[in-house]
């Protein structure tokens, strides 16, 4: 009960801090009209977290849990044979990996708050600029996920076979990203007439996209060595 109450308290504090962080951002920035609907949905979810936490401490749940605790432990003989009891896992609310869940939840919550704050301050821009920036966001996601996988593989948390799959995905993601970035660059530059005329004079961007396709096809096994 003691460990579980720490976890509950940690979650409640996290929700409260997140709520305060969003409120602080709202004081400093105005939410663009195009993002308001999405922002409101996220804020409602966050308010839900905070309400649940308050409900637990100020409502009947905490008192009820405390009363159950005071009544004493259940019949030890009935549970002594349970594997979970022997492993000391019942204190984790029945979840064998409750602590891991808590860590993952905290990390996800942290990034959700950051994203929500980023979304609240995003400006309305031309579609090709939004697409280019989204591509950069995708790159950040790929590298963060791959770095996490790399660290977990090095510590032996992930099986070797899965690590090989991860390495293969990372290798294949690179030419795919290069192709998308080079295509996006061409789109961005073609919007500016003066710049576009410069690029028309030399064919380097087109050649590079062709090279990207060749490299990607090779890594995906679509081309042989002599093709």
């Amino acid at each position: 009960m003691k460990q579980k109450s720490y976890i509950t308290a940690a979650l409640a504090i996290l929700a409260m801090l997140g709520f305060l962080a969003v409120m602080a951002v709202l004081v400093m920035h105005e939410i663009p009209v195009s993002n308001r609907e999405f922002f409101n949905t996220g804020l409602i979810a966050l308010v839900g977290f905070v309400s649940t936490a308050f409900g637990y401490y100020l409502g009947s749940s905490f008192g009820s849990a405390r009363k159950t605790e005071l009544l004493g432990p259940p019949e030890a003989s009935a549970l002594a044979s349970s594997a979970e009891m022997q492993a000391g896992r019942l204190g984790q609310g029945g979840f064998a990996r409750f602590t891991l869940m808590l860590v993952l939840l905290a990390v996800a919550f942290f990034f959700a708050i950051l994203s929500l704050n980023g979304c609240s301050t995003m400006k309305k821009e031309a579609p090709e600029i939004v697409a280019g920036k989204s591509l950069l966001a995708m790159k950040a996601t790929i590298i963060t996920a791959a770095t996490t996988g790399d660290q977990l593989c090095k510590k032996g948390v992930i099986p070797k076979a899965d690590c090989r799959t991860l390495a293969d995905w990372y290798l294949k993601a690179q030419p795919a990203y290069d192709l998308a970035a080079d295509s996006m660059t061409l789109v961005l530059l073609s919007r500016d007439k003066a710049v576009w005329q410069r690029y028309q004079a030399d064919q380097a961007p087109f050649r590079r996209i062709f090279d990207d396709v060749v490299v990607m096809s090779g890594r995906y096994g679509l081309l042989g060595g002599d093709q």
Binding site: R97, V107, T121, L136, A167, A181, M184
Partner: protein, 61 residues
């Protein structure tokens, strides 16, 4: 999950989370920046896979 496992996991994830937070902060700054198409094209060029970290996924051997 033992205390040792939790500590080991925290040691593995702490630098990753820290680096991730820095990346997200940079990304938000880029998303909010007033940027011209030519500047964005330059950033995209710099973000090509040649600038990505070399990861081995524990498969060095």
């Amino acid at each position: 999950m033992t205390k040792e496992t939790i500590l080991a996991l925290a040691q593995v994830l702490a630098p990753v989370v820290q680096a991730g937070a820095v990346e997200v902060a940079k990304l938000i700054a880029t998303l909010n920046a007033d940027i011209t198409p030519e500047q964005l094209a330059k950033v995209l060029e710099e973000s090509r896979s040649s600038s990505w970290p070399e990861l081995t996924f524990g498969l060095e051997s």
